[in-house]
Symmetry: C2
Subunit: 875 residues, 2 copies
């Protein structure tokens, strides 16, 4: 068994043994690129270290010594030598990059003697002693675990003593004084001197890297990201090169293409006579990489060549680090580069054009979450950078918006009718604000989380929204918005960045989204690859149209209740609620029928042959009643029903936990006439649109909140009887499907029985998550954030399906459902239907489609394709 | 294969083939008792009938004919004979008695000719024609499925025509007219004459019984009661005997012992010259069975002997039907008799004494739900029967109470202090009413369901409560109770029957419960038999004491929040809630510590060595804030915190769905200092009581509402750290257990992970049911009732564990929990812990204990024993 590999012994395929960094260093060495020589202690050595009670086995120590000798040979330098000392960097390198682990120790090999040599060699005493000081500090911190603050106190003390404002104001003599104190500190803490022997320094540093694999933050990170504790970390030991050996030296970072635009040209920065740290320190401004062509013409030519080699070799845009030591170029790192959505799309399409990668690879390189950036207006970057931030809230719905603030839906509507751009500002929105939300450019609320009404509706409309902005105080009566001590009045300008959750002062120029040709190309590739269908959640023709434009293959969830809130309908709804007899209720429902029917007709006309799943009424009836005394009094006047009577009805209907109350199919059990009216509207609309337009419509009627077979059987009987009557009246036949949401844990648990009645399941993962966790999403937003901060939750379960809990219920339901009814249709219509990781899970457990808000349809198409690609690779 | 059995061919062990009734008729025949001869068509014939598309196979028809011939032979009568006609009864007889199935057709064999013979033989023309009329009506209804209302219309028409007030006022001539019209009705509906041929009547009746096996009501009943559709029903055909052939005939019903008291003496009623139906008609008052000794001395002696034979034979109290035809006794039915709790206990103990049955049989004969009757005061039966019913509500907590009504807790307390008996009447109760509830004899509320605060707390205290009595209007401000138009004022007497949910006017004498020797004997047998331990839910020393008296083996759930509501503590709790910094919160908690500690000490002192599981704070903090503006203003005055500030805090803490909000362990995550204080109180109390009294206390600390391993890990770390500190301060060691409730579906689903941290699981099936069904128990009471009425739910899932849904989660959790931690301690502390069917389920899935309210402990002990017996039999 071999535990240590020289860079010329490995390759990029040995990532699991050498870690990401080590494998790439080996690969670059292998293909003949100039990499300072070194070696990698493997992840298996790390595992062995833990198996043997945190000691490095003798055989590994021996191997390290051999490799060090080889390194001395290759470099012609010697560890601890006072003439030509070998200095090395020690870096951790796990398979996945992992915060919390020991990162880097530079200049290892320095001691009281070699520091003098370094000073002479670089002709820079200050640099040498600063390096030594940093080395002791870094070693003391990460190897010896001496609190950083102790070192800081000494350093700051010296600065004060010397009257130095900045670190760089300290002289070599000052730094020597710091070193004396640092060493005293080490002695005090460790009971021994700072190790002067480079070999000892090295072994301690390697052990420290191994130890850092199991520190709390690293363990937590692995837990949260499902990374096995068994992977272990590698350690890279590499000869130091110096970019700060005068004007013939330098250091830089570069990308093979432009990570912002995707342009196929080198992009990056470099600094003459500097080390990486100097760039970070920000004392000098780096120069664009192109200028290297002037300062280091030969080196630059070489670097261009290497960049090209690396990109062709890795078949992806590279992010590279390099150092020039006395006109010689050294590559210190290469890895796949991060990129913006625009550049990701362009690079993917370009590289397929260059025959560098396949369409599958191109699609799998797109981060689906980034796609969102391409679908919404954004601020002009420069203008946004200069704008004044007023407050931060939740990034509830992406995009950018600018306009005058209005505090009621009707004010916003009126302003827009006058040709203004409006931002609707509310404490929180309710369904009654819908028209104002449609009219406004963006929505800002002081309360409510990522799944509040404002957030959900705005996302559905693709409208920019900042929600739960607790820093602002909204007075809807006085029509003012107060932030700290500043008061903003109706008509004042603000701007919102819904992707970041920021409220800016004043107007900022927005840039409209461009659906470039590259974007369309990538999407069409995704559609070729994926097997999971993508539908949209859409409640009206406008959203349905938007969804189809974004490529939706049907509607997975058409909520009927949103239609009920519109101005001309709400009186009939309320009349129905206040009915004391079935007859009165039927009379009110009869008024609603034509509205519902015409809504459904309009949706069917947009969707043509595509499937449309319509859900029967879901929310508790009290949601439709006025919420304030004022509105109740108004309703009393309108209806002639006394205020007292109305209050009594509201009181009777009020619930302690409406989430778990009289809603969903429970309404249809109690008031079958509601389900009858809705069924009639669905069927009549379908029959008529089919007759008028010839579309092949197969209505899908979805019964919500089912928990028992007997429950769906009851409602299904009502629905089927109505369908029979309806079709009889038209004298036609029509196929249809009746199915259910799986959103109550019991429905998932007993899915085998429920599938006897249900022809399709649609997972309502919002409610399923609420009930499985016992988290009311209206109430636990703050708590969930706290849980994520504490590492109790890795992800917000309302954004990404909790696979261990909620996901296990889904898997169970899919299995049982298919067992009972092999051809059962399976989908998801919770918001998770637009989340890439959740989509991958849906693909894996065998759903047939996901349904998400229209603006997430493109994201879902990419994510679905990626899931298919992953599965193919895994096979 | 044989499909028809004469009564002399079967036995009681052939129940599944012959049905319950047929098997017992055969058994009586077999042991030589006088049973009118007959035969049983088997359940397999019924199944074959369905297999062969609802036709009776020829071979079965042949067998029936053979058996009819034998019956004619034995009786010396002939079907359709005009001299000595054979008349038979046809009765269904399934394995389990089942409502909705065809019950009985009497006098089959009557037609236009034999009715004349019957008239002559009985010398009672009216009787004969009434029998014929009833036969046509019954046959028309159940065999021909002609609507009953059609027959009723004819009959009522005739009554009107004849000027008859009662049925009996109709003469033979009137009845003949009715028969003519009945036959016309049959002709109209069926297109054929009413069948005159007895053989045809018989085959049609048998088919009708078979058909009734699959009518909607029967199917629903089987579904609800988990009875297989495959069992089928048998049909019993038996020669008629007549109790109405003059003064030497009669009919009666009797029990071998007294079903009310258990006294070992014949108990029953009989009627001379009558048929069973006459008893039902209520025209004549039956006489006590003993008087038969006078009217029929020989027959009575014979009956006494037969009763004795039957009881010894069946080894159980029998419920018998008999007819005397011309001084000859015929047994028509025998079966195990229903009995009251008192008699059940006495009979069980007596029969063991008589060496008739084993202790296991004795215990399994007690209906655990009835035990409750023995533990509470009851009304004097006669006084209750005469009392005026004012209203009906929910039977929220059993027992009887009488007293003067008071409308506030403090008024009730004051009245009791003055020596009065008080009934506390409230709109609904809240924790602040606790002292008044303790003082009152009983509690009456207008709102709230079986699991409302009033109901839960009253059951816990074993106090009579009628809840959710929507017929009453309570004005707490005016201190009046209005029922319809009657107003009752403070101090007026009412009486409550909490077992039935009835409110009576005035005082009714109550009878205190007697824990008779027999009761103790049966309970001790149950304890010998059961393996499942029984603990109690008790929050204070009073309840703990009661629980121990009822035989509890520990406390399975000690809720700490109830202690918080007491007058001297609530200010500190509120101070804690209103704290803006951790320091302020800690200061408030420090005030609570001595209270909590002394509570726990008192409980430990009562419980001695028995285990006590204490649950950390569970409810959301807003529950502790005042609910009305008035109370909030009072608090503002008390604390000096402004009303506006208090309102703001209340607003911030308020939740849309508190059930699923910031509560349970989520509080301990956010405010670890609360868990620290409670842990300290628990440990300090345990250490001190152990030192002072020498009890071997092992505290069990329960973390509520856990849904994730990481969540319990977080809270457990806080708890363990505090325990370490505490024990260090005392300088002692102490064993302890830390565990969790399993009450969130996700906890059950991921129990395997959670068991890594939890040393015990206690199933909180109240919340688990709420979240698994998505039923808020505060909001869905009415709906659940509707579901039960419609047959959508067989049982209220808050009373009996829903085994298919909630139960499957429990089973999963038990399995996974044991896999991770084989010695994990498993219990249940939801209210289901006191429900016999749920207890059987808990035994089956391998829980170690159930915990229920003190007054259900005896019930649980019996139910646990019965579960063990059932399992033993099944093995």
């Amino acid at each position: 068994m071999k535990f240590v590999y020289s860079f010329n012994e490995g390759s990029k395929d040995m990532r699991s043994l050498l870690g990401g960094k080590g494998a790439n260093l080996a690969e670059m060495t292998k293909i003949g690129l100039p990499v300072p020589f070194g070696f990698t202690v493997t992840t298996e050595a790390c595992n062995k270290y833990y198996e043997e009670n945190k000691t490095i086995a003798d055989e590994i120590v021996d191997e390290i010594h051999e490799k060090m000798a080889e390194l001395e040979n290759v470099t012609g330098k010697k560890f601890g030598d006072t003439e030509n000392p070998l200095l090395v960097s020690v870096r951790s390198g796990s398979v996945f990059s992992m915060p919390g682990m020991m990162d880097t120790i530079l200049n290892l090999g320095l001691n009281d003697e070699t520091v003098i040599t370094l000073s002479n060699l670089t002709d820079n005493e200050r640099f040498a002693y600063d390096s030594y000081r940093r080395f002791i500090q870094m070693f003391g911190d990460v190897v010896m675990e001496i609190p950083k603050s102790e070192f800081d106190a000494i350093f700051d003390g010296q600065k004060e003593k010397a009257g130095a404002e900045f670190d760089v104001d300290l002289t070599a003599e000052d730094l020597k004084a710091v070193i004396v104190e640092y060493k005293a500190l080490v002695k005090k803490f460790m009971g021994r001197e700072f190790p002067q022997e480079p070999g000892e320094q090295l072994m301690e540093a390697i052990q420290a890297v191994f130890r850092s694999w199991n520190n709390d933050r690293a363990i937590l990170y692995r837990k949260l990201n499902n990374i096995s504790d068994k992977l272990g970390t590698a350690v890279n030991v590499q000869a130091m090169v110096f970019g700060n050996m005068g004007d013939t030296s330098g250091t830089g970072v570069a990308f093979t293409r432009n990570p912002a635009t995707g342009e196929n040209a080198l992009f990056g920065e470099f600094l003459v006579n500097a080390q990486g740290e100097d760039v970070v320190a920000g004392i000098r401004t780096p120069k664009p990489i192109k200028e290297m062509a002037v300062s280091f013409p030969d080196v630059y030519k070489d670097f261009e060549r290497i960049a090209d080699v690396l990109e062709k070799h890795y078949k992806d845009m590279q992010d590279m680090e390099f150092t020039v030591e006395r006109n010689k170029l050294y590559m210190l790192q290469t890895r796949a580069a991060k990129r913006t959505a625009v550049s990701a799309v362009k690079i993917a399409v370009d590289m397929v054009g260059e025959d560098l990668i396949s369409k599958e690879t191109a699609v799998s390189r797109i981060d689906p979450n980034q796609i969102d950036q391409l679908l919404h207006p954004n601020f002009d970057e420069k203008a946004e950078a200069e704008a004044e931030v007023l407050a931060k809230g939740l990034p509830a719905s992406p995009g950018a918006a600018t306009g005058r603030i209005y505090f009621t839906a009707s004010d916003a509507e009126a302003a827009v009718a006058n040709g203004e751009k409006a931002i609707l500002v509310r404490q929180e929105t309710s369904p009654e604000d819908l028209a104002g939300m449609v009219a406004a450019e963006g929505i800002l609320t002081a309360r409510g989380g990522m799944t509040s009404h404002a957030a959900v509706v705005a996302r559905g409309m693709g409208k920019c929204c900042v929600a739960g902005c607790s820093e602002i105080a909204v007075s809807e009566s006085e029509k003012t918005l107060t932030i700290k001590d500043d008061v903003y009045k109706e008509g004042d300008y603000v701007s919102l960045n819904g992707s970041k959750g920021i409220v800016y002062k004043g107007e900022i120029k927005t840039v409209a989204p461009e659906f470039s040709g590259d974007f369309g190309t990538v999407m069409s590739w995704a559609d070729e690859i994926r097997s999971l269908k993508v539908r949209a959640n859409a409640d009206n023709p406008r959203d349905a149209k938007q969804a189809v434009e974004f490529g939706a293959q049907g509607i997975g969830l058409c909520r009927t209740e949103h239609m009920f809130f519109e101005e001309e309908r709400i009186p009939a709804i309320r009349q129905m609620i206040m009915a004391e007899t079935e007859e009165e209720r039927r009379a009110a429902l009869a008024k609603l029928l034509p509205f519902q029917k015409s809504d459904f007709k309009a949706i069917y006309e947009v969707m043509e042959d595509k499937p449309v799943t319509i859900r029967l009424l879901d929310p508790p009836l009290h949601e439709f009643l006025p919420h304030t005394e004022e509105d109740t009094r108004e309703l009393a006047e309108q209806t002639g029903i006394s205020y007292a009577k109305l209050s009594q009805i509201a009181e009777e209907l009020s619930e302690f936990n409406p989430m778990l109350g009289h809603r969903g199919c429970r309404l249809a059990v109690t008031y079958p006439e509601i389900a009858e009216m809705q069924t009639r509207a669905i069927i009549e609309a379908a029959v008529e649109v089919k007759q008028e337009k010839g579309f092949d419509i197969i209505p899908e009627i979805m019964i919500p909140l089912v928990g028992m077979e007997s429950e769906i059987a009851d409602v299904k009987a009502t629905v089927e009887k109505t369908i029979g009557t309806c079709l009889g009246e038209y004298g036609v036949e029509m196929e249809y499907l009746i199915g259910t949401m799986i959103e109550v844990p019991r429905a998932a648990l007993t899915a085998g029985s429920i599938a006897k009645e249900a022809e399709f399941f649609s997972f309502g993962t919002n409610d399923l998550t609420q009930m499985t966790f016992g988290f009311s999403r209206d109430d636990t937003g703050k708590m969930i954030k706290e849980y994520m901060d504490k590492g109790i939750l890795a992800d917000d379960p309302f954004q990404t399906i909790d696979q261990e809990g909620v996901g296990s219920l889904m898997e169970h339901a899919v299995k049982q459902g298919k067992q009972t009814r092999p051809n059962i249709k399976l989908g998801i219509c919770g918001e998770h239907g637009g989340d890439p990781r959740s989509i991958e899970f849906c693909h894996k457990i065998g759903l047939h489609y996901v349904s998400c808000s229209p603006f997430r349809v493109p994201i879902a198409r990419i994510a679905a394709a990626q899931a298919a690609i992953k599965e193919k690779i895994a096979d």
